[in-house]
Amino acid sequence: MKNGFAVFFAVLVTLGGSWLGFVVAPAIQLGTAKQAAILNSTDTWPLQRTGEATLGLQVYRANGCAACHTEQIRQDSVMAEVTLTSLGKSKPEDFKAFVQSLFVLPELAKVTNNLAATLKDWKGELPATILTTDDKAMADAMADRLKAAGVKSETGIVAIGADIPRWGVRRSVAADFLYDYPVQLGSLRVGPDLADVGARLPDANWQLLHLYAPQIAVTNSAMPSFKFLFEVRKLGAAPSRDALNVPKEFAPAAGYEVVPKPEAKELVAYLLSLRADAPLYEAPFSPVTTAKP
């Protein structure tokens, strides 16, 4: 460490390692990514956003929406589940007895407690998820047994985590952001996650009202109003086609109407285009038919 050049060279190598690892390698691996195949389908993911939604991403960026909202759903794990769809000819009591007879099987030993607990309160409602396990082979074995007994069932895959199902059905993956510039992942959840908001809240009118005065849609919302994306103008001979149907306490003075500016419409188009609802190899799930809480 006696001369400057030795320090410079050693620092160069150390820092260069980080640069190669976290800049060059991801730029090669992720920067050349192509569309991903959707599971059990010939379609690819993601879809290119519409022109209006692409402009809306810029409104989202300009207003710093990512300061309070993330676009990343996380999951802890995936589970396989067996869902009963039809009992065939047998009655619920018979079915319970049949399942209890399976408890002696060594390959189901791990899940007997799980099964017994699920069936205890079950009174024959269908469809019903009777088994959730992290072992796909176990779920398949159970499904085979049920099939042999003449009972119809479906095995499915569900993602598990605190964000699921309230904000989406599966984790966000790299492919979801393939066409975005700038990618707005966000780092703070003052408001809810928006990765799947297009599937969750698909009503454009609700979205516009929520932007105009968040308290209309969500009581005590901490979100500021984005009134500057709307125009309050004098009512003409007839109300404008786009005019919002604002509840009384938020409405402007009589004789005026609230009309979204193009920016507001673009932003809503972008929000509605935010979806993370296609099953992919890296984030599998099956559309589940059961009524989950």
């Binding site: 460490m1 006696k2 001369n3 400057g4 320090v7 620092v11 150390t14 820092l15 390692g17 980080s18 640069w19 690892g21 976290f22 800049v23 991801p26 730029a27 691996q29 992720l30 920067g31 050349t32 990514a33 960026r61 300009a62 207003n63 710093g64 929406c65 990512a66 300061a67 309070c68 993330t70 990343q72 996380r74 984790r171 966000s172 993956v173 790299a174 492919a175 979801d176 952001f177 393939l178 066409y179 975005d180 510039y181 700038p182 990618v183 707005q184 992942l185 966000g186 780092s187 703070l188 959840r189 003052v190 408001g191 005590n220 919302s221 901490a222 500021p224 109003s225 984005f226 500057f228």
Partner: protein
């Protein structure tokens, strides 16, 4: 106390050579610090009443928060750091500053760049990447200014009388090399005409953010502390070997942190990052040992002076590193992801650690450089208390609020109480920064007045007899 310093050149001459560049850098930095903290306070107020500023597009949280953050880092932290660096290089080299006009011009470019950046963010034309919101024009100005200052710094460094390097040299030289590297990389890959595709943008953004906020500020802050602590304590830095170890492990592990665990990227990225976060404990312990062994038992009566600033700053740095490690912890780290905890760590790093270390250094440097004492010496102590109070109120409440928010699964009300208390923290910081700015501006004005008086006196003075025609 530093081995490299012998009194071959008169220290007063060295200090005088730094005067104008340092004033240009510190003056702007103090102004941006005040404005940045004011914007941060406004942003924090929007949580008390969301409707208050909603009518103005440029006063919403989404505009104010990035503007405030950028002003604190680009407006205040970096120029202040560069000024302190120039002085330390000159002092360690025992040489006058080389090309002193370069940093003066560069300081003006830099502050112009920050002004353009601020206006752009408030107008809603930010690039949308964290810590890179400035547009291309501002980024180019900042980059050019940094390189100009680095030329002057390295030139001064090469004039050194003693060939052997002092530990602060390693930290500060690495910082001089690393900023242009990460800043140009991030701008070329993200803000240029041909950005990278998809989440590669996010990965590079995380890498840049961590390297700027954690690594770069740590390199400068620790480097500056390693220069001043032994000087003020009146004893040598404890073990050059420890310092070398801390330096290498810091840049080896610190530069790989930053990718959050649940990120939608290939798993090797967050895994590597988490692993590097754990190893970060090694440089943290090394730095703590060095500082404790250097200052423990030193008979310094600091009373809120620069010595106290440095001790508090280094403690905040260790805490900020520990918070970074905690948020990378598997399982438990997820609780605080996407919460205010991360912001608490960032502000602890920028304000609790860096701002306080650099303000302490500036208070130590300015009277020497200007040749007269601080106009308000009592403000130094008061600012120390205000910054400490601000750190506790802001970082403490946000960290606790972040944990609550995570435990309550991001329920909107979970962190509200903490957020409201954190506003007080911003207010304390703002008050402290006003005291800092008052000292710097009054000093600058005094110097300008003295300069004007000299010029007037020169004009008014009778001509020397040799000039008078017979």
């Amino acid at each position: 106390m530093n081995p490299a310093e012998t009194d071959q050149v008169c220290p007063a001459k060295i200090d005088a050579s730094c005067r104008v560049p340092l004033l240009a850098l510190f003056g702007g930095a103090a102004l941006w610090l005040v404005i940045g903290l004011f914007l941060a306070l406004l942003a924090s107020l929007t949580f008390h009443a969301p409707e208050m500023l909603a009518g103005c597009s440029f006063l919403t949280y989404g505009h104010l928060a990035p503007a405030a953050n950028d002003l604190l880092v680009y407006g205040f932290a970096i120029p202040a750091a560069l000024g302190v660096m120039l002085w330390i290089f000159a002092r360690l080299s025992q040489a006058e500053l080389v090309l002193p006009l370069l940093p003066v011009a560069a300081a003006n470019f830099w502050h112009l760049g920050v002004f353009i950046g601020l206006a752009t963010i408030l107008c809603g034309r930010s690039s949308g990447f964290n810590w890179l919101e400035f547009p291309r024009a501002a980024a180019i100005l900042l980059g050019v200014a940094f390189v100009l200052i680095a030329i002057s710094a390295v030139g001064t460094f090469s004039q050194r009388q003693e060939r052997e390097l002092y530990p602060s040299h390693w930290f500060l030289l690495a910082a001089l090399l690393w900023f242009p590297w990460i800043y140009s990389t991030a701008n070329l890959f993200l803000v240029s005409t041909w950005p990278v595709r998809g989440v590669a943008q996010a990965v590079i953004n995380w890498w840049f953010a961590n390297n700027l906020i954690f690594v770069w500020l740590a390199l400068v802050g620790v480097g500056v502390a390693f220069y001043f602590l032994p000087k003020l304590a009146g004893r040598p830095l404890h073990s050059r070997f420890y310092a070398l170890f801390a330096f290498w492990t810091l840049i080896l592990f610190g530069t790989w942190i930053g990718i959050p665990e649940g990120a939608p990227v290939p798993a090797w990225l967050p895994t590597t990052s988490a692993f590097a976060s754990f190893l970060l404990i090694i440089p943290l312990i090394a730095i703590a040992v060095i500082v404790v062994k250097t200052v423990w038992g030193a008979k310094v009566n600091c009373k809120g002076g620069p010595f106290c600033y440095l001790k508090f700053g280094i403690t905040a740095f260790i805490l900020s590193g520990l918070m970074l490690i905690a948020s990378a912890c598997p399982e438990h780290g997820r609780t605080v992801e996407f919460t205010w905890f991360g912001h608490a760590q960032t502000q602890l790093q920028i304000l609790g650690f860096f701002a306080i270390v650099i303000c302490g250094a500036i208070y130590e440097i300015l009277p020497r450089v200007m040749g007269f004492a601080l106009p308000f010496p009592k403000f130094v102590r008061l600012q120390h208390w205000l910054f400490m109070l601000g750190t506790v109120l802001l970082v403490g409440t946000l960290a606790v609020g972040g944990v609550q928010q995570g435990l309550k699964l991001y329920s909107p009300d979970a962190a509200m109480l903490a957020l409201r208390f954190s506003t007080l923290g911003w207010a304390a910081f703002l008050l402290g920064s006003l005291l800092f700015a008052a000292n710097i501006f009054v000093m600058t004005m005094k110097w300008k007045l003295a300069l004007a008086k000299t010029v007037i006196a020169y004009i008014k003075s009778p001509l020397a007899s040799s000039e008078v025609k017979p």
